[in-house]
Amino acid sequence: MSVLVVNEWVDFNTLKELLDTTDGNLASHLKALEEKQFVKMKKQFIGRKPRTSYQVTETGRSLFTLHIEALENLFSNQ
């Protein structure tokens, strides 16, 4: 989510490299996020190679912002 909120579209391989995770792990997380409609997916062809990219949805963005705010609030409350 951190990556998606500061970039327009991010492709699968870039995400994989940044998060240092496996194909399967990343794919299942992205699928879960997509089902909840927090991210949307776009499939393109670069020449002959398929490229899948992801973008955060407005819902996903608002929830992520709430998440950050929650982290910040509980921190200063102590």
């Binding site: 990556v3 982290l71 509980l74 921190f75």
Partner: protein, 210 residues
């Protein structure tokens, strides 16, 4: 207390991931310092080239006569290109070194984005300056180089360290002053490409790499 440490860690991770995915972080302050040094040396050499071409300055580096540029144009262009190549070369060298230290690869989508945003104003400026030289109106060349370079830096600043943005603004200001005080072109050039690079390069080096 432990949950709070975890929350701080989470926030740090989020921020770090945001930066890593959107900004080119292998730019080294040392590139700025070395570019500045090359520019200062270039400035001295330029002064001597002008002197040998019988173009005089007073003790404040105020250009004493209008520029009959033909006899010094070629040496100055060669000097300018050499300084540029050396500066870019050292920037590449120090960035490679920093990327290796960070365990990151130098090329990536952040690199591509940075270079695109940097080169559009820069190449535009290059063509504009050639137009100026071609029309024999060289009084504004120093001003134009500083302004276009500054615009390029401001444009690229969003995609690398924020200091680059402020360096860009400073270069624009110097460029405008160089347009007003055209006889001090060499002074503004040395300040903009030499001194400012050393200053900002040092700030970046001590802030991020030491």
């Amino acid at each position: 207390m432990d949950t709070n440490t975890k929350k701080i860690e989470d926030l740090k991770d989020i921020k770090s991931m945001m930066e890593r995915s959107s900004r080119f972080l292998s730019l080294s302050g040392l590139s700025g310092i070395s570019a500045g040094i090359f520019a200062l040396i270039g400035g001295f050499i330029a002064y001597f080239i002008m002197d040998m071409g019988k173009i005089k300055y007073d003790e404040h580096f105020y250009l004493l006569q209008p520029l009959p540029f033909e006899n010094v144009l070629l040496p100055l262009l060669i000097l300018g290109s050499s300084v540029l190549i050396l500066a870019l070369g050292s920037a590449l060298f120090f960035s490679m070194r920093k990327a290796r230290k960070q365990g990151m690869s130098l090329w990536g989508h952040t690199t591509r984005r940075l270079l695109t945003h940097l080169f559009i104003p820069l190449i535009t400026g290059g063509f504009f300056i050639l137009i100026l030289i071609d029309s024999n109106d060289v009084t504004l060349v120093a001003s134009a180089t500083l302004i276009f370079y500054g615009l390029a830096l401001v444009n690229a600043g969003k995609y690398t360290f924020g200091e680059v943005h402020y360096l860009g603004i400073s270069e624009i200001i110097l460029g405008i002053l160089a347009g007003i005080f055209v006889h001090y072109g060499l002074v503004f050039w040395v300040l903009g490409f030499g001194v400012l690079h050393i200053v900002y390069g040092s700030v970046m080096y001590f802030r991020y790499e030491r």
